[in-house]
């Protein structure tokens, strides 16, 4: 689907986390982002959406405002309403989230 160029990473996260088939996963992500299913693969629309929500991009103007990697994944967790293991581990290791809270 184009990964972070579009919404491919987000749709795949729903397949992994919730075992959603492709149509259900795309509809879910589209509804969470407030776009149509066709928009999910449109690089222009998705660049705007990902920029506004800070969900990570494949190409950014160099600046301290870049949100990618673990920062973007913290936001993706919230936007999609799922738990991302790397985010949970990061928070746990950074002392933001206790092991007990994770359980």
């Amino acid at each position: 689907m184009g990964g972070v160029r579009t919404a491919g990473d987000l749709v795949l996260r729903m397949q992994l986390a919730e075992k959603m088939k492709i149509d259900e996963a795309k509809s879910y992500v589209a509804s969470k982002l407030g776009v149509t299913v066709e928009d999910l693969c449109d690089v222009v629309t998705m660049t705007d959406i990902r920029t506004d929500l800070g969900l990570g991009l494949c190409h950014v103007e160099p600046s301290g405002k870049e949100i990618n990697g673990i920062m973007a994944k913290c936001r993706i967790e919230e936007v999609l309403g799922i738990r991302i293991n790397s985010v949970q581990r990061f928070k746990e290791n950074a002392g933001i989230l206790s092991k007990e809270a994770r359980r």
Partner: protein
């Protein structure tokens, strides 16, 4: 006399061939019939055969799906296709960034270049370190992948007897026992590695090329998947197959009461589902001596039977020598894109 129009396509070994409309239609029919005969599945409808003919003969080099029909990608790259296979010296942590930022991949898996769990076990801490580093800087899902590759557990360098040599000697009981022991070793190693990767933050575990050593290999994958997902419901597992048919190297092994030997994709997916996996990687073998129309028709027939019953996403394996793709190292985009389009639009797969 006017020469009959021909279309450029390829054989299963990748060689170029020109075929007439009649020849293409005949091969689509024959490929479908072969899948029906082997898998005891329903044939593709005549309407779908017509659509497949249009895909095979579509003008242009690369073809694509209609907007809105795009699907996602997982893979078994191991994060070493660029640094090892293409000899571009690059740490695999950084290679994942190329997949994400330059190639637009939906995900990638990190793995050891010697892509099997037995080898990965010995360096699991180091592998987990690389994965953790990559997870800090990438946004897309990162899985840890390897093959169960149960042949690695056989003598002389492994702990159990080699069933491939025991069977021809008529030592059936010994071959059975060797495979049963290898399943235990394999499950132990897979779950050990998975545990390390879970703690490093992996987005999932990719059990790749499952069933390569036969039914025992598939059993190890299913049992390992069940243990991983029971212990960590938030650690998804993808099970990708080695071939379309589970070889009965043991012959008597069962999972949840179902005999594994001889299963085709539409039966494999139900067991993978029961084991708790999130994604099933479907394989249909490519016949090198047959044309692309024959191979892709056969693939779509098996795929339709599988996606029809699947309760989890199905990702078609479209690498070298599987799902209509020719048996070549460097992929011809004309055929790969046609195989992809057919798998999405006719096979109804959820990913590649």
């Amino acid at each position: 006399m006017k020469e009959e129009k021909t279309f450029r396509t390829r054989m299963g070994d990748g060689s170029l061939v020109r075929m007439t409309e009649e020849e293409i239609r005949a091969d689509i029919w024959a490929g479908t019939e072969d899948a029906v005969r082997c898998g005891k599945v329903e044939p593709m409808s005549e309407e779908d055969m017509e659509k497949l003919y249009d895909i095979v003969t579509a003008p242009g080099g690369v073809v694509g799906v209609s907007p809105g029909r795009e699907i996602v990608l997982t893979n078994d790259s191991g994060g070493y296709k660029i640094n090892v296979k293409s000899q571009v010296p690059l740490p695999k942590e950084m290679e994942t960034l190329l997949y994400e930022r330059c190639l637009g991949c939906d995900s990638v898996d990190i793995g050891n270049t010697d892509y099997n769990f037995k080898t990965a076990k010995g360096i699991a801490e180091r592998e987990a370190g690389a994965l953790q580093q990559a997870l800090q800087v990438t946004t897309m899902p990162l899985l840890y992948g390897a093959m169960p590759d149960m042949g690695f557990y056989t003598q002389p360098d492994g702990p159990v007897g080699n069933w491939a040599t025991l069977l021809p000697e008529g030592k059936i009981q010994e071959a059975w026992e060797a495979q049963e022991q290898a399943v235990k070793h394999s499950v132990k190693d897979i779950t050990f590695v998975a545990e390390k990767m879970y703690k490093a933050g992996a987005d999932g575990i990719n059990l790749d090329t499952c069933g390569a050593s036969g039914d025992a290999d598939f059993l190890a994958s299913l049992e390992a998947c069940e243990q991983i997902t029971s212990r960590h419901p938030d650690l998804p597992v993808e099970i990708g197959m080695a071939g379309e048919f589970v070889l009965g190297m043991h012959g008597r092994l069962k999972y949840k009461g179902k005999r594994l030997a001889g299963l085709y994709p539409h039966d494999q997916v139900k067991l993978v589902e029961e084991a708790g996996a999130s994604i099933f990687g479907l394989v249909v073998n490519t016949n090198c001596s047959r044309s692309f129309p024959w191979n892709i028709a056969r693939t779509i027939t098996f795929t339709q039977a599988c996606t029809k019953v699947a309760g989890i996403p199905v990702h078609a394996d479209v690498g070298m020598g599987v799902c209509g793709v020719p048996m070549v190292e460097i992929m011809p985009a004309d055929i790969v894109s046609r195989a992809d389009k057919a798998l999405v639009e006719l096979g109804k797969v959820d990913g590649l």
